[in-house]
Amino acid sequence: MKLKKIILILIFPLFVSCENYLEEEPYSFLSEANFPEKAEDGRIALNSAYSVFGGANIVGYAYLCYSIADTDFGSYGASLSNSYGLYQNFTRTSADGFPKSVWADLYKGINICNFVIDVVAEKNFEGGDQLIAEAKGLRAYFYIQVSNQFGDAPLRTKTTNGVGSVNVSRAGVDDIRTLILQDLNEAEAVMENYPSVFAVQNRGGYVTLGAVKMMKAQMHMFMAGWRRSSTGEMVAGDPSHWTSVRDICQEIIDMGIYELDPDYTNVFKDYYLDNYNNESIWEIDFSMPSNGATLPNAMTAPPYGSGSAGGFGNMRTTKGFYDSFDPMDTRRDWSIGQGSFSGYTFVPSAAIYSRPYINKYRKVPGNGDYSYRTPHNNPIYRYAEVHLMLAEALNEINNGPTAQAYTAINTVRYRARSSDHKDDGTVLPDLTGLDYSSFKEAIIDERAFELAFEGQRRMDLIRWGIYLDRLQAFEDDLTGMNKAAKVQGYHMLLPIPLDEFNLNPDWDQNDLW
């Protein structure tokens, strides 16, 4: 009897609560069992798609460094030993970390968009169509980057779920572009139904109707120009796309909600101060102190001292580019920091360095003084570019500038003049009397002046078909760099990251990589 009692005592506790004993209960994260449950959850999921921009490989310092280095006005910073320095030096390989992180962030973003599109449709949340439209707009942006940077690439439209969906083959650029335009058209159609949500100047970094239209216009612009294929050919564009570029630019202008800030520098000050300027069509938000901060100024501006506005100066420009500005062009001294900072005050230096500092992402008073990072928002689309695109489209369509084309480009030039030289005709005079090629030359220069260091130049040079010419003509004054001698046609695309290539043995690497 006693024995039995003891045995029971020994055994009994195991029968208590053995149900669910081995079930895993996550405490600190959400799993498929409980997310997403409602429309707000869908919003939270879509938010995370914007987080990939924080990796600075799609926008931000890493992307800017690379996209500036690969142009006719980018020169190297002091340090070549860091990873971006190595990348700038055209000793790139597919094993480098940089193309891999660009690729990874783009596809991470795509997967999140796919996830939102799938799950919102499946759960039929109220207001889900808005979420899907925004996700499609964002997905289109990622795919524009994918096809521009890498050429042929996997085309994923469903969220990856399970091992079976892991490996896919590369789709052609044309197929990717088809999806981009389809996404953008669908997004546009929905967004136009919600003007109070989407047809506003900006939504503080979210994709808007204006951004979607801008992507569309840009996509058509790329489709009208040259590209390098993954197999190594230069593929000519279809000029008929210029009509779409023109029409969409006109639509954006007709929205009537964007305007050029009379002061060029205000636009960038507002980026730093988190004021959403009416010129900004889409910008990527960065803030201080803890989350999502980035380093464009650290990479570009003159070396800092405590309490000053500078950065590290790891990416620079050339004296030639500096000199090509009109001295009274307000864009020159904001974009290029030939001098140093005394606090927030920029003191231009007398002597011109051969490699002046880039200064567009400098700090301004009013949003804290961070010695290392910066809350500077990153411009993606500015209204000024709409005018330049319109001007270029009209020149292409009519094989020469029209009056409207002159108006468009001169609007941008007018704003760039310093306030006391607006109309005296000595500074950046209005363009007039140009033929097709000289107007195109003017566009090529004007885009450099207006959009310098904003990440557009590299793709511009490629679509104009002058990337190799311009880089091979580059006068490099830094010993050992020799950009002009090292650049090759295959540099127009990034290599498929080696690891990715290893996992997809049937893929072919981009030509010559």
Partner: protein, 1122 residues
Amino acid sequence: MKNKTIQLVIHTMKLSVYVFLIQVLALNLLIANDTKGQKTISVKQAVVSVNMKNASLSGAFKHLESISDYHFNYKGVDINKHKKLDLKFENALFSDVLLQISRKYKLGFRQLNDVIQVVKFSDMEDGDISEISMADVDITGKITDENGEGLPGASVVVKGTTVGTTTDLDGNYKVSVAEQSILTISFVGYKTQEITIGNQSVIDVQMAVDAEQLEEVVVIGYGSVQKKDLTGSVASVGSESIERINTPSLNDALQGMAAGVQVTSSTGRPGEASSVLIRGGSSISASNEPLYVIDGFPQLGGSNLDLNPQNIASIDILKDASAGAIYGARASNGVVIITTKSGSRGGKLNISYTGRRSFSSIIKELETIDIVDYAKIHQVRAPLDEQPLYANPEQWADSTSIDWQDEIYRTAAMQMHDLQITGGSNNTKYSASIGYLTQEGIAIGSDYSRLNSRLRIETDLNNKLIAGVNISYATDERNGPSLNGEESAGVFILKARPYIPGGPFPGDLVDYVDPDVGTGQTATNPSRWLTGNDALRNQLTFRTINYLDFKPFKGFSLRASGSMSYNGTKNRSYLPSDVGIGRNYNGIANISHNQTTSWLYENTAKYKFTVSNHEIETLIGFSAQSTIGESFGVKSQNFPIENLGYDNIGLGVDVFNPSSNKYKSTMASYFGRVNYTYRGRYLLTASVRYDGSSNLGEANKWGAFPSVALAWRASEEHFIQNLNVFSDLKFRISYGITGNNSIGNYRSLGTYSSANVSINSAQVLGLRPGSMSNVDLKWEQNRQLDLGFDIGVFGGRLNITADYYKKKSNDLLLNAPIPINSGFTSFTSNIGDIESSGYELDIRGVVLNGKVKWTSQFNISFPSTKVLRLSETDYFFTGSWGHKSSVFIVKEGEALGSIYGYVYDGVNQNEDEVTNLPQFGGAGAVGGPRYKDISGPDGVPDGVIDSEYDREIIGNGLPDAFGGLTNKLEYKNFDLSFVFSFRYGNEVLNANKNFLWRPNYRSGGLKKIMDAWTPENPTNENWAWDQDGIEYNNVSSWLVEDGSFIRLRNITLGYTLPSILTKTIGIERCRFFVSGDKLMTFTNYSGYDPEVSVSSSMLTPGVDLTNYPNQKSVTLGVNVTF
């Protein structure tokens, strides 16, 4: 699915309860007959009535047994005589009956208690008067051990009979025997002695330790066996070896001591434990750490903090599947069973104190450049306008250079104090210990202290119930930053410039503005970095083990036990605004706290019985356990007021989001084992464990882990014994399956991870898919075959144990890389197989056994691993340092730990070589490095060095062989021991060369820099200085060095004061010793120490990236026992 699992669980539980009850009942019945009381009535007094006709002798004995309380023992006497017997007695004395039998069969009888021993009188004539001898002598005495302590439980048996008794708690015995008998006295671990009684009535015997140690007891899972009865492969390390180690880390005690156990002490950072790898690795991504079992309880997470080596009685390492399988799903990396010291019932109070004081210093200093070298480099490397600063290098010859290693590394002191009390009363045994240590790190700014204590009490509640508690408590504190990594003090120390014009000097403890250039860049002063970087870690471990043993009858025991443990770790750091990246953020403070709380509930039932020549021991049991871990962390930066640091983290102006995390993991298990021995020669062990773990996928929560082992003790066979060669000869074979569930929590679930976004001028929450779910996730499974033999020759003075094993790990959990265009980087599933195999040899000998006692032990292991299968691709890369990833490769058909890179092919000596030989990336320079052109897209060398075709395996961080040699000598009161450990055939990836062989005009570096290539010095060893733009970070064979070494791990000289001297002042024993650790290392490795590894992963061993260097030390100590 879920219901099915639950049903299965309940069903299994019920089943095992029934089995348990049936077993208990059956045993009860079996034993029921055996409950006779002691009868000591003399045959000359006992009265019987017998009536038998024509009976056989054996029949007569049986009949007499049935009508009396006596048993006949006729072992060795032929009783199958043809003579038939008639017996007819009525109320006669039993002795008269025996007398009649005696006469007829010429047999004599002796009564020994209730046993009647039958003896031959072969020389007697028929009809002669025979003899009935009686047990008429009472012998008493005391059996003592080698120290004169009473030896409880020793067996005192009359030779040639089964008659006898065992000693009581004090070692006393009392037995009634016939005169002229011979007593055989035996006890496990001692030499059996035979004493002729003669006419003595008090016989005290002091036992001598058996040199053969065949009777040594080895602790296995849920019990212990005599070493001779061991069927599996188990390595044991005794307290003598453990105590000798002068470091706080338990694992250090194992280095070089046991075959198949590879211990790596890769860092000299105080408070860091060495890593232990048993029989190579069996996993790619799950843990390769063995399971630790402390006083019978599997460790439930947390640290080994409470395990003070001085407090450990023995360590037994279960290596093969047979030994380990009783721990089922956690045993595939081997099991380390730790038994702490305990008292003994009736033992006398024993107080022992050991004190140590050691002095440590860096194991080796590296030669660095001086100011003249610095100036020479400056001449070549600095920009033109800065070069005049050091125009004439030789003019600096008289200036004092700073050797930063001298500034940073010091002779560090350590104190260890350990106090231990053991003892017991008649029904209780106890032990208590307390240990305290303080240790300076050899690098300034680092130190460590630890306090730990343990209390064990076991008491008999009554003659059937025993209760025990085992409580340990330990805290420690570690101070000082890590020196690991590319951006750490380890680098700063070697890269700091040897000269700072005008100061500040190391002792000024401020970072200095680089004086040579006008950029105002601040350079890191390593002294300041180490002393200013306030990093503090505190740990606390509390563990309690409680058990109740119920022993209702002989051979049977039930144990119910429970254990709880708590482990807390608190990390705090403050990086001031003038140190490192603290400058960029104006001070950074971090606080994090992790804790795990666990409980374990476990029941076992054991029954051991003998049926004639069959010895059977059975065990069944079940256990359930649960671990909850929680952590939180806060961070802030930008401190206007700095002097409070992390103690007031709220003073930081920029506060980061706090973080917290919680997890829970549970296990439930059923297990059983049978040990069967036939005639002490044929041994069988079979065990099975059925484990359920929450970590695994919904579909695969449960797994079974069976094993079986056979052993043949050939030395027990007559034909072997007749050879008179072997004192021991045993052959073993075992096969079994173990598992590894150390795969982390929640790995099977699809999860969302947070990705907060700054948008619309605000921080908003974002959640994105973080991992894909895998409901099929299951254990890693490890099938292991072990073949071994044990040989003892020369009367047990030479013992050899050899083992061969082959393990195949299936279903390896692989966080396998998947194409990142999927949006994920990896997917966790069971897709790998690896195979490891090896030979192990252990030789122990008593070289001298006279006045000088000399024992020697040597062991060596030859492990190898091979990857059999991976995911869809047949390889993946792992490991990284600095800007380089893909340093190691895990590839089908290759060993783990394979270093992957270019094959260094020397320096380009001239323009011809640059143009004509393949160059990295297609471009090279005179004086620059060149690599071998291994292949190309067409499978043949293509003249270009690229990452895809021109890398190969250039080394392996795991050794081909390792082992140790231990010698112990004793002469009079002196003892001397020395331990060598060695490793052979492993390569070290000396990543430091990248930083330290490359000159930079504003930093220091290794002296080796000065041997760089120049046209005048056409070396191929180190390329030229002025090679900016050359990719010098490549992982190549240039960085790979041989890491083989032989090390004098420990040497100890001790002197024990004569006991005559000490006993007068009440001291039982007093020993002084001086000891040296790692005093000598023989190696070709050029860095600090070849036993280096910045990561403890099996996949990335042997990377030297400015570790906290190892230390060597000298220790003085005293051990006093009262």
